[in-house]
Symmetry: C2
Subunit: 358 residues, 2 copies
């Protein structure tokens, strides 16, 4: 069909499709930075209680907001919930008024959805390269001009796993015009070990900062889609009005509240991540493979010019990792930290493949 | 905090909050046009199978699209899935290019989200009044001008329960410029009894029409949030690119596929709706209360100047119905058709209240 409707429709590129391989058994899934464990038994049991209420529209999330607020010493009015962090990113973009030219500053590379969503909402993404694999706050400050409406900061940064520190972030905020919304996406914050990680929560009352967190990573609820944002009351209120009613499903609301209450589960997940990280560091060192020390649940590994080929070979062994060609890091793969068994399967698989190549 | 950020943030009105009353026992919930029954046992059993996979991002929905396509004799490429019909409405609005002035034509009253979402996405809603509680396709055609980008048609129309017919719809399409996207929201189509209801599916290859359907109503999955759209391949492809990756949660995908396969469940739901409709018609007639004959799972009832008061009195009896003041129908309430027991509780409650008023 060639109707004149096509003149009016935007041609947006497709979001790059990840290899997921559904529920098929036998795969080692290290490509999507998921939690390798099923969710907290608390979450599962609460979901089961709600199964026979699924014909009703979702609860309004008020109790969950109160629980999240309490967890951070904030009020429910400081809390936004969304259909994954992705919806919170969209709400930020939707909330800002459009003038003739509007730009969004994004680190390059960082989480791919920032740039894609910015384009969908009619912003021009301004990309500021990382320096030594780290977010360059000074260069981001220098890139600000009258057209800048939002800045997306990814901390830890995906796909590098690096962080910027509290001192640099506070200096950055102080120096920034107060008419720019700063969205700090901390999807991987629970995994951070560094003591210098910013305390952004203390800044929300003085600066237009919204912090995004998620239940998809450390809490193991990726399949249910729920993230949250923390910010100053009026900003939260304006962002919330751009939200679809009922965008967060009932099970996600129920499960998130239960998951937040089960901090023992979180502790175990973080212990596994630390152990896996040390194991992978040491295995990679013994193979003389370069990697970027990480504060997240994934490691950026430099494989060299064979990186895409190695990814395919790992795939043949049913080991999923992410080749970073789409991030202009063609010599790298990003590997999620799995269970100890999965980490071992990955290391053995990688060893075998590299041996056959040499 | 008064930062200059507020100059740049849109002030969008809040979506009107419905009275839901969560899981509390003893309520008769007839205010949100939900299915009064829990979802199909097939859906529940498949959700239970997936509980321990919730740490993974959702499957890509390919199998569900194929199943929906097959159900309507279409290809998977003709099918969109979204986080409730609401996300499909948003995708339609996001997909169109913006020029200086863009308008969306909407019947007044119809589903409230069309106008709210249009404003969020920078369109001006042009509202065309119903005639005799019915969508006025002729007046909608007359309202079209160079600024018109989309038309939302709600069939059956919420909150009136009325339909436009196949003949009028086909004539309407034939006469319409082909550069306007026509979104036909058929959320309540499964409940229609009239033989004159349009077959929109036959029009997607010749006209820029996208049909929206949902699993929230007849299939009883409102809490999980999943709707779908059917349209011509290229239009579906462009709309899909505006979609959040992973916007539909894993349980919704799983449950929808199982629900679609359980047509026995659907049949029982429709039988209950027909029985409830006849029962309510006859009860209202015996009380000499005016109502609009419905093709959906709700009935628009004319209570008179006391309608808001009656709604509050019903609420005191733990019976939730929707007063339609927000729809400029202040003398009306909208009552969802419940189980037979619920319908009886509503009729008895209404009788008692009206008796006390007279």
């Amino acid at each position: 069909m060639k109707l004149s409707i096509h003149e009016h429709i935007k041609e947006i590129p497709y979001y790059p499709k990840a290899m997921m391989y559904g529920r098929e058994d036998g795969w080692v899934r290290l490509s999507s930075n998921e939690n390798p464990y099923p969710p907290s038994p608390e979450a599962i049991s609460h979901i089961m209680d709600d199964l026979f209420y699924m014909n009703r529209y979702p609860w309004d999330g008020g109790e969950l907001k109160a629980a999240i607020g309490k967890y951070y010493g904030k009020k429910p009015e400081n809390v936004l919930i969304g259909n994954g962090s992705n919806e919170l990113i969209e709400m930020s973009l939707k909330a800002m008024k459009h003038t003739e030219k509007n730009t969004v500053i994004i680190s390059e590379p960082s989480f791919a959805f920032y740039a894609i969503a910015s384009k969908i909402y009619g912003y021009e993404p301004v990309k500021v390269p990382l320096v030594k694999m780290k977010v360059d706050l000074k260069a981001i400050r220098d890139a600000v001009d009258d057209h800048t409406r939002l800045i997306f900061l990814n901390n830890p940064n995906n796909p590098t796993g690096t962080i910027f520190n509290d001192k640099d972030f506070k200096a950055f905020l102080k120096d920034l015009p107060s008419d720019i919304l700063v969205v700090v996406d901390e999807a991987y914050a629970e995994f951070v070990e560094s003591k210098t990680f910013p305390d952004c929560f203390s800044s929300i009352h003085d600066y237009p900062v919204v912090i995004l967190r998620t239940f998809s990573k450390a809490y193991g609820l990726a399949g249910l889609r729920i993230g949250y944002g923390i910010g100053e009351e009026s900003i939260v209120s304006y962002l919330e009005r751009t939200k679809q009613p009922f965008s967060v499903n009932m099970m996600a609301i129920t499960a998130a509240k239960a998951a937040l209450s089960d901090q023992k589960y979180l502790k175990k997940v973080l212990i596994n991540n630390r152990r896996g990280k040390r194991f992978l560091y040491s295995a990679l060192q013994s193979m003389s493979i370069e990697y970027i020390p990480t504060e997240a649940n994934f490691i950026l590994i430099k494989i060299g010019p064979n990186a895409e080929h190695v990814t395919k070979k790992l795939f043949d062994e049913k080991i999923l990792v992410r080749w970073l060609g789409a991030y202009n890091l063609g010599e790298y793969i990003r590997v999620s930290i799995g269970t100890m068994d999965e980490n071992k399967v990955f290391v053995e698989g990688l060893k075998k493949i590299l041996l056959n190549l040499s």
